[in-house]
């Protein structure tokens, strides 16, 4: 899987977060065709289609053999690679790294949700697919450890693939041409190479690798589930990063080493008693390699990018907030009026949107203003929520519980920001997704945080600011006002930072780190400062969540949520405060959901898939987001008038 990531990165400078999701679809196609009992008269051979509007399945051939199904699936993988490159990544060749990250999240969201729908159509879902391994099911006994032979074979395939690809990319004309085009596209064109054609071919190879990898892994592990399998990209990214997304051999060794380390750790955990009870064992296995990688890339990265690391494409427009105090007072005033006049379901929707907007603001600061692609913001919010709840349940009164939680979260945010001093762009995105997973697995899954419910109601100066009430008084406006004030203060602070010298330093670092350093800006301090501010904002949102939700669960802060936060903020406008507000409006359960009829309205099964398509369309057509797009329309209308 990691090898495929390296191929796409080499060919088109894209870290494809949808890589495993693409492989997942191909594996579904394969196992879907082979989903018949050879001893029965079932005909099988149905090919699952991932396109909304087309039938979910078409019959290809009765009772396909393993070879036939595999060939059809791999051809399908090739077509999928071609289509995704042509429709999504080719138009974004010269776009900034963030645009490509968001586009790959769009593809991820689309494939994952469409396949979720397709698999649930079969009744017992994906768990009912016959996942017969293509490899032998024999085992090898090493002492009292039993190792399936298929594990050795999988490792052998990975090594063989790495060797072949190393030779191809180092010694063949195609390989050399790919490297040339990746390093200098214009130069490659001048010597008669076609970067487009090379891009297509590399995407085909990468997708075929992804499909083959997931088919083999699903057969051995017996698991094929749209969300789970799509998230296999995370350990693959870890391995790919250790090989600097360049070296097939190092990537392969790193991938194998990570798997072996996880297995060894699992065995060690079951046999040893000294690990503390509050540490989640399964989570430790998932998180440890990620932590190691975070440290590794921090050490290996450089404080400043190399001279040839060009700033790619134009950056998202970051308008200077106009009259922020007036805008804030108007917004908060309007919100307060709405809270005291609308019904309880609207009050809930407003609060959900307000909290989501605060968390989205943290992405605006870090990613929009400073250019640091962070996927850890939702994890920071979760950290603050869990800490607030735990402290409050242990008798720490409001506002001290949330304040302490915010301080802790800012400290963790700065700690996570340390790698940002040395890595940037796509690498930082991967590092922060790793940090988010580490926090999720090690902290949120801790048994000591299990079952946090009934957090004491917040009270200030004798005023009950609790959210829950009785009857139509539920979702009390008093809490809504607290959330609105938090949003107003946060928005105002961000607007002032944006207008101050701090904001200018942020934008300077975003534009060109070397130039910023030459102008006397302390790039490292500026980045850490932005991490502190953004984690502060995420922590404020998280602390509010602790009082808004009657029960906290680790799954509320899963990494998929982090992807959604970044995607929504990008849709709204990643470098503008109004972008965060639009993200809040669009948050699931927020104002837009309520406008569509709320939870009892018939939800479209294709809601998530459509979101993925919209996301891709916005990245390509409106790279500055909806807020800046709307502002431009207004300006054009004014100019005409």
């Amino acid at each position: 899987m990691a090898i495929g990531l390296v191929i796409t990165f080499r060919a088109s400078n894209v870290v494809n977060f949808a890589h495993a999701a693409m492989g997942m679809y191909v594996a579904f196609a394969y196992y879907g065709m082979r989903n018949f009992d050879v001893a029965s008269t079932e005909r099988g051979g149905d090919l699952v289609l991932p396109i909304i509007g087309l039938p979910s399945r078409v019959h290809i051939v009765d009772r396909p053999t393993v070879f036939t199904a595999l060939m059809i699936s791999l051809v399908l993988a090739a077509v999928l690679g071609l289509v995704i490159y042509a429709l999504v990544f080719r138009p974004l060749r010269n776009a900034p790294p963030l645009a490509r990250v968001i586009a790959s999240l769009g593809v991820f969201l689309y494939l994952q949700s469409v396949m979720q729908l397709r698999s649930s159509e079969t009744g017992a879902g994906s768990a009912s697919l016959q996942l017969k391994s293509l490899l032998t099911t024999d085992v090898v006994r090493l002492g009292d450890v039993v190792v399936p032979t298929s594990s050795f074979l999988l490792a052998g395939f990975a090594i063989a693939a790495a060797v072949v690809l190393t030779i191809v990319y180092r010694y063949t004309r195609f390989g050399l041409a790919t490297r040339a085009a990746a390093e200098h596209e214009t130069g490659a064109m001048l010597i008669g190479l076609s970067p487009d054609r090379l891009g297509f071919l590399n995407w085909v190879i990468a997708t075929v690798f992804a499909g083959l990898a997931v088919i083999l892994v699903a057969g051995v592990s017996g698991r094929l589930e749209p969300t789970e399998t799509s998230l296999l990209v995370v350990p693959a990214l870890a391995a790919a990063l250790l090989g600097r997304l360049d070296n097939f051999a190092v990537v392969t060794v790193a991938g194998l080493a990570i798997s072996m380390a996880q297995s060894a750790l699992g065995t060690f955990q079951a046999r040893s008693d000294w690990l503390p009870d509050w540490l989640p064992n399964g989570g430790l296995r998932q998180a440890l390699p990620v932590v190691v990688i975070l440290v590794a890339i921090s050490i290996r990265g450089a404080q400043l990018p190399t001279r040839e690391a060009l700033v790619e494409g134009r950056l998202a427009q970051s308008p200077v907030p106009r009259r922020p105090l007036v805008a804030t007072l108007l917004l908060v005033g309007l919100g307060v009026v709405a809270l005291f006049t609308l019904d309880e379901l609207w009050r809930l929707a407003i609060v959900v949107s307000v909290i989501a907007a605060i968390i989205a603001l943290s992405s605006v600061v870090l990613t929009g203003y400073v250019g640091q692609i962070s996927l850890a913001q939702y994890a920071f919010a979760g950290l603050s929520a869990f800490t607030t709840a735990k402290l409050a349940l242990n008798g720490v009164a409001f506002p001290w519980a949330p304040l302490l939680a915010i301080v802790l979260t800012v400290a963790v945010g700065v700690l996570v920001g340390l790698p940002a001093v040395r890595v940037r762009g796509m690498t930082l995105a991967v590092a922060t997704i790793g940090a988010a997973i580490a926090i999720e697995q090690l902290v949120f899954n801790s048994p000591s945080l299990n079952g946090l419910t009934d957090v004491p109601r917040p009270r200030l100066f004798g005023i009950d600011l609790g959210f829950l009430g009785v009857g139509r008084d539920n979702f009390r406006p008093e809490f809504g006002v607290l959330a609105l004030v938090a949003l107003g203060v946060s928005g105002l602070a961000v607007a002032n930072w944006r207008r101050s010298s701090t904001g200018l330093r942020w934008l300077a670092v975003r534009s060109n780190e070397r130039a910023a350093a030459a102008a006397g800006i302390n790039v490292s301090a500026t980045k850490l400062n932005a991490f502190a501010v953004s984690s502060l904002l995420a922590a404020i949102g998280g602390a509010l969540l602790a009082y808004e939700l009657p029960a906290l669960s680790p799954q509320q802060f899963m990494v998929v949520g982090a992807l959604a936060v970044l995607a929504l903020t990008y849709l709204g406008g990643i470098a503008s405060i109004s972008g965060a507000l639009i993200a809040g409006l669009m948050a699931s359960g927020g104002i837009l959901t309520q406008l569509q009829g709320g939870a009892t309205a018939q939800a479209s099964s294709y809601q998530f898939a459509v979101s993925g398509v919209v996301l891709i369309a916005v990245v390509i057509l409106l790279p500055d987001g909806l807020s800046v797009g709307a502002r431009r329309l207004v300006e054009r209308a004014r100019a005409r008038a």
Binding site: V38, S40, T41, V61, D62, R63, T65, F67, T68, M71, V75, A78, S120, G123, A124, G125, A127, S128, V139, D144, P148, L201, V204, S221, G222, R223, E225, T227, E228, L231, L232, Q262, S263, G266, A270, N281, G282, G283, L345, L348, P447, N450, G451, T453, L468, V470, G471, R472, F475, L549, P550, A551, S553, Q555, V560, G589, G598, A599, T600, Q607
Partner: protein, 436 residues
């Protein structure tokens, strides 16, 4: 190399093998049936209604009219909250089961004393805020009770609790579902399952070492810790093996469990973990009995696993076959009313169906004129060994499983897959007595 050069060989290869690309069809069908036994004949062929052919021993017999009667009065509104769609799993069959049950009640059972049940459905969409929104919608629409489905967050239950609205049945997958004073559950969830399996392993299999594999997800982790604590009190050595809820490696987990040389293994896993666990057990030649949650007994999963599933043990929370006439009645209702919704009788929908039927029986007992959230709460709290549809009689006194007051009938039965068919392995296991 051009793209064309790459594709032509691939397409040609596919075309060539296409001519001989199919597995041979066997001369006769030999697919094993893994559908739970359904030995009770309902004599329903040709019957005009389910009521006309319903078995007499059913738990619904006291509320069954002599002939099918359609309810035409003013409706009684009941809500249901379920994750019909969502980024991490969709379980529409639970809502559909409620609809099937309500159709049957309104069409044949004369509703509640002539008043049809109106079902208000709400989808949490895997969102904690929408769970709250659903609950508040139920409050606003003045439902008399909410039938539970699968709600991972359970955040809406607090709103129901604050408004005194009963939350009846479903699959308890949140702490509030298992503990709220307005929640009444006719399933033991993973808490009941682990205790039932532990009891069987210790008392029947005489196990001294047990490995407990569990997915790290709040309530499941809590169940595993409860199981460990209780089993250790019975002087059994318990090895806990956790797997991450996402992409947990079952191969490694079973390997780790095997190294502890256990006499039995308990696997608390979601349905996506069933197939890998069963296949791995066969692959590594693991011979100790392995007990899975009922989700793994879904016929489609067992069919997919094939022979490797043979000998697996499951918690069922029901008595199969001739011992339970509710089974036959349920199958007949599903056959007649299910096709409209493409409802499949074997699956998680059974639990919702049970909840709706138990609520219905309670409404009939209360009487349409007296139905209110408060009267339903009082009636459930006063219940004692009340017959449960296709389940153990329930008592909702908050003391059926210590620490989990909403469990009204945490008792378990176990079944075993023998020659492709699930057969009853135990009678009802009193998990509370075992936990004590």
């Amino acid at each position: 190399m051009s793209i064309r050069k790459l594709f032509i060989p691939l397409l040609l290869t596919t075309a060539v093998v296409g001519a001989a690309c199919s597995e041979a069809t066997p001369s006769k069908t030999s697919a094993p049936s893994t559908t739970p036994s359904n030995d009770v004949a309902t004599k329903c062929d040709g019957a005009v209604s389910v009521v006309a052919c319903a078995p007499k021993g059913s738990s619904l017999a006291p509320v069954m009219p002599k002939t099918a009667t359609r309810a035409t009065g003013t409706p009684i509104v009941i809500g249901t909250i379920n994750q019909d769609t969502g980024a991490a799993g969709a379980f529409p069959e639970l809502t559909v089961a409620d609809k099937v049950a309500v159709d049957f009640i309104n069409t044949e059972l004369n509703g509640v004393d002539g008043h049809p049940i109106e079902l208000l459905t709400c989808n949490t969409n895997f969102n904690a805020d929408l769970s709250q929104s659903c609950a508040q919608q139920m409050v606003s629409d003045e439902v008399v009770a909410v039938v539970g489905g699968i709600d991972i967050w359970g955040t809406g239950i607090k709103t129901l609790e604050n408004n005194g609205i009963p939350y009846v049945g479903g699959i308890p997958v949140s702490f509030d579902a298992a503990r709220s004073p307005v929640s009444f559950q006719f399933s033991g969830g993973t808490w009941g399952a682990v205790l039932g399996m532990g009891q069987y392993a210790i008392e029947t299999l005489k196990a001294k070492k047990i490995a407990l594999i569990y997915a790290e997800f709040g309530p499941i982790t809590d169940s595993a810790n409860l199981g460990k604590r209780v089993m250790e009190q019975h002087d059994v050595e318990v090895t806990l093996v956790s797997v991450s809820a996402i992409n947990g490696d079952m191969v490694q987990a079973l390997n780790t469990a095997a190294q502890a040389k256990p006499d039995a293994v308990i696997a608390l896993t979601a349905d996506s973990g069933c197939q890998p666990a069963m296949q791995t057990a066969e692959q590594i030649g693991f011979t100790a009995p392995i007990m899975y949650t009922g989700a793994c007994a879904a016929p489609k999963i067992l069919d997919a696993v094939g022979a490797a599933a043979e000998g697996s043990i499951f918690n069922l929370e029901a008595e199969l076959g001739s011992k339970n006439p509710d089974n036959a009645l349920y199958q007949e209702i599903a056959k007649r009313y299910g096709p409209k919704y493409q409802y499949e009788a074997q699956g998680a929908g059974t639990v919702s169906f049970r909840a709706m039927m138990n609520l219905y029986s309670m409404l009939r007992k209360i009487g349409a004129d007296n139905v209110s959230p408060a009267s339903i709460l009082a009636a459930f709290r006063a219940s004692k060994d009340t017959p449960s549809f296709f389940g153990h009689p329930y008592t909702c006194n908050g003391r059926q499983l210590t620490g989990y007051g909403a469990m009204c009938s945490p008792q378990q039965t176990l079944g075993k897959l023998k020659q492709g068919k699930i057969t009853q392995l135990t009678g009802w296991l009193d998990v509370q007595a075992f936990a004590r």
